[in-house]
Symmetry: C2
Subunit: 330 residues, 2 copies
């Protein structure tokens, strides 16, 4: 996976202890890990406006929908999406039982750790690998397998479990919005089973408020009982133009607020902020080499270019991890 | 639509005023429209057991999922599913602009009100008609159209709006379970947009807790904005074996409780009650000619045969509208 590390950020690992928020910044502040800069002020202002009863900008609690991308918005996605690291570990464990994989260049590259070839295959190639790695299980088995993997896997840069690499400012944001009557949803390009396996515990978001990419599910009878198994075929890709479709299909309301970090979130922010009345679109920018990663236009994992260019015109907030967050990890 | 009335139940319309629940039956009773018979006792007992902290049967609130079929379980479905009456009205309004429909036997029958032919086409035929009637709209337009129709349409037997023909005992059941920490979901064979257009107001169930059949959604740009439109093609049928798939895909947890009324709910009850620990499956039986309808094995709308036969062996509760409910409509 080091092939992905174009800027050698691994070398910076573990040198920088987490910055501890001063106690003074806590107290009544609902977003203590956000510095008192423009994005925080704009978000507080927006939340105050849409919850002010008796004013023209008031939005009923039933319509307070906030959507969040997951990879790169709520937790780390570099050097490679955690779900893909998981799929790779599963593929390796299953390779013996699937000798035909060795004949396929894509699978051979994945098993050899040749990430350059794998990433060059695009999202279609990634989905094929993930599909093969995670097919055949029931939803319950999928959740158990993912939880077991998450309990022992370590991020290559920080050497910590992935679930410890969620962004503390975003955890505060989820809580802040829920306390103001918002419903919080994850709208992820990742496979929905994987995200659901930790969303409740880590983000306080129940599985039915997680929308993600899906593989086909087959219902059959096994020993006379309903048996659902996941097939390797991709059913729906919840990324890019798929995100508004996933939102309309599963939430059934246009969001008031959308948080994302990459071009895969463009259409979600667009759909959100094109709604009537006041809406909020937010992009998180990975510009903190010391405390997380630096990547933007020149990456295949979380590329941010088109959405960043559109942000000023569309009045999307751009949050700098380096400047606007006093603390990154919990 | 009278062709569906095989038992001439229309003649009984409006002769029987609603039975008013005696004030004595209310007070602390959370289910005042349920008579004190075996099903009510079993449901109260189940709810007490799974919410008793510190006992082996305790289920954490996060896992208290209750699913409800809609047509025939929460509101009337005879003589024809309200959504189909809606689709027929839309088809008639659109017929002038679609002259080719006259060449198609299925559409010609629907426009002529020949329900016998339409029903003989099976669920595939119904879905084709509904798809044609409701295609081309955005989700917002679909909701507005459905709400406008529901505001003026009247049920042919009772001459009342369909939303006034929800079952009061089930409204109480939804509230009862929510007050005990359950999340309530609708899992309907009907089109999800239609059910969502009234579920929040009528059942207190937000759109993202409504699972239903779906038509394909297309995302495109219109005047530079994200534009989602419904295509006529069916995407997913949330009925029969589709119900466990819809549940796994959208809820992500196996329910603890399932309520249904027809063979289309068989697999949902099966999937629910085959889960580990104590589970509850309930069938509502339409056996009250005076206060609602009588239908069971011999109908194409809400047929109940296989599930009823399986109920004793599977320990599903069977609720008689006639004997177990003191009041039917709100």
């Amino acid at each position: 996976m080091n092939l992905l590390h174009r800027r050698g950020v691994l070398r910076a690992a573990a040198l920088f202890p987490l910055v501890v928020t001063p106690a003074a910044a806590q107290g009544n502040d609902p977003l203590p890990s956000w510095r008192d800069t423009a994005p925080k002020r704009a978000i507080l202002d927006f939340a105050a406006a849409v919850t002010a009863e008796g004013t023209p900008g008031f939005v009923a609690p039933a319509d307070r929908i906030a959507v969040f991308d997951n990879d790169g918005t709520l937790w780390v996605e570099q050097p490679i999406y955690p779900q893909f690291a998981y799929a790779l570990d599963r593929l390796k464990a299953m390779a013996q039982r699937n000798p035909s994989w060795k004949q396929e260049p894509l699978f051979r590259a994945a098993l050899a750790g040749d990430m350059k070839t794998v990433l060059a295959s695009g999202s279609g190639g990634l989905q094929r690998l993930i599909g093969a790695a995670l097919a055949g299980n029931t939803p319950e088995e999928s959740a158990r397998l993912a939880q077991a993997w998450l309990a022992q896997a370590k991020d290559p840069k920080w050497g910590k479990p992935y679930t410890a690499l969620v962004y503390q400012p975003m955890i505060e944001m989820l809580r802040f919005l829920r306390a103001r009557g918002f419903q919080t949803f994850i709208v992820s390009g990742g496979g929905v089973d994987f995200v659901r396996s930790f969303s409740e515990q880590v983000y306080g978001i129940p599985p039915w408020q997680v929308i993600g990419s899906t593989f086909e599910l087959r219902s059959s009878l096994l020993d006379g009982k309903v048996n659902l198994t996941r097939l390797p075929a991709v059913d729906f890709i919840d990324d890019g133009p798929g995100k508004p479709i996933g939102i309309a299909r599963q939430i059934g309301k246009r969001p008031l607020i959308a948080f994302g970090n990459s071009d895969g979130d463009f259409e979600m922010l667009q759909y959100t902020t094109e709604g009537s009345g006041r809406r909020l679109g937010v992009l998180i920018r990975h510009d903190d080499l010391e405390r997380e990663h630096v990547y933007e236009r020149d990456t295949q994992v979380g590329r941010l270019a088109r959405a960043l260019d559109a942000a000023p015109h569309r009045k999307w907030l751009v949050v700098s991890m380096k400047n606007d967050w006093s603390r990154i990890f919990a």
